[in-house]
Symmetry: C2
Subunit: 251 residues, 2 copies
DNA sequence: CCAAAAGTGTTACGAATACACCCATGA
DNA sequence: TCATGGGTGTATTCGTAACACTTTTGG
């Protein structure tokens, strides 16, 4: 390929990428999903999953596509976090990135590095490798957002298995909000939600804690989450079938 | 046609723009600031103030710059709203836009169309001209955001003069939230805030309403707003390091 | 004086907090 | 058995809602 610059414009254009901050929870610590770059620049370094937006897709579609290609994770709720556009944030050229964030359960996905990623792996938020570009900053902003959402009442049930105990929720809530909520009040609050339904089973954890298991009424929960926050549902396959839906909430 | 496309890339790049939704309040209705386009495409049509992001500026800087160039408005709190990236949202080429929104007082700014704008003008949200591109959608999303913020406790004091009455706040709050809050409870709530300070003056309105005037402690208020929401302060001159003015004595 | 809107007080309710207590389990 | 953590009950606080009432001003 001799002529390798085929796309010309009258004015300079920045490149546009997407980056995804995916949070998970393993029962002990909060985790983020990272990839090991398989291409230059910074080949071999760790980074947020993401990549260039194609000309025939929206940034949301790009985020879902890249996440799936690079980590095999799909079907999560994605939310636009922020645009990062510092002029020198990428050494190659001017790159503006749209950051997304989502919650996922580590066990639910077959996390396999693919495509441009040599590897994909969950890391503890307390101890993850140095990230390339300004991805550390993006992670910080994402965590702030997560913290805000949690303090505002979000419970992050997307990060749990089908069956979960209130103490697990409590552990996560404490981790994220950094607040010292009374355990018993938290218990009552959670069990008062109509979308958290008790099962009769019991579960066993590390030391000796027999605790009641609960399950989630996804339908009710989704409604609550959707109206509380600005979340959009992105099923990876969505683009393939669904046309364009437009609904306006005019009164 | 000669060769007028000097900027070449190996892969296609979208163009990146910013658009600003500026809300104001005139005592009666909620207003937005629009410009009449002075250039093609859609020359003569109305649009949100905005334009292309330069290679040497962030999207925030671009938003402030374009807003100032096209409408003469500056020194407002800007907040990233969302990225709009539908593939066909611009007829010229692939254009991804970062939408911002801010609150301003209509009277404080000398709204003059400039640069790419033939004209700039405040319109009532109930009755504004058809907008180009997907700007109507952006306005809708911005209003939803505004509504969310107001329901969450924001009072939009940025939209008022130095002296204001509680009934004015109440009128705006009712307009935005569409909620029927008790006037008297609202009054007490507002006057309980430490950043809303009574003055001894009185003001006169349409029929016969003498009402107490209040003023705003900007410092305290800014703190509250900054931590409640994700707002960033952008003084237009900031980049050129011009000293900040606290009071505007101009009229 | 009267109408209309501003401003003040008083009570009620519900969610969030604080904390006391009992139960189940495993070592 | 005891230590540890799960689960339940109850009182208090506080912000908000509901609503009665007084004051001010223009006509």
């Amino acid at each position: 390929m001799e002529k390798n610059k085929e796309f010309s414009y009258k004015y300079p254009h920045p490149a546009v990428t997407v980056d995804c901050v995916i949070f998970g929870f393993d029962g002990k610590s909060l985790r983020i999903l990272l990839i090991e770059r398989g291409l230059e620049p910074f080949k071999g370094s760790w980074a947020l999953p993401g990549g260039f937006v194609r000309m025939d897709e929206t940034v949301e579609e790009a985020a879902m596509r890249e996440l799936f290609e690079e980590t095999n994770v799909k079907g999560v709720y994605m939310s636009q976090l922020s645009v990062f556009s510092e002029v020198d944030r990428d050494p190659r050229e001017r790159v503006i990135t749209v950051a997304f964030y989502a919650l996922a359960k580590p066990s639910d996905h077959d996390v396999i590095g693919g495509d441009d990623a040599a590897n994909a792996q969950w890391f503890s938020l307390d101890d993850y490798p140095t990230l390339v570009f300004d991805h550390e900053k993006i992670v910080k902003v994402a965590f702030s957002q997560l913290q805000r959402n949690f303090r505002a009442g979000n419970v992050g049930l997307e990060m749990f298995e089908d069956k979960f105990s209130i103490s697990q929720l409590y552990a996560l809530h404490s981790l994220v909000t950094q607040q010292d909520i009374d355990r018993r009040n938290f218990y009552k609050k959670m069990t008062s939600y109509e979308y958290i339904e008790p099962t009769s089973e019991k579960m066993r954890e590390t030391p000796h804690k027999p605790s009641q298991l609960f399950s989630l009424d996804r339908t009710t929960y989704d409604l609550k989450v959707m109206e509380s926050f600005n979340l959009y549902r992105y099923d990876h396959e969505e683009k393939a079938k669904v046309p364009k839906s437009k609904h306006h909430g005019k009164k």
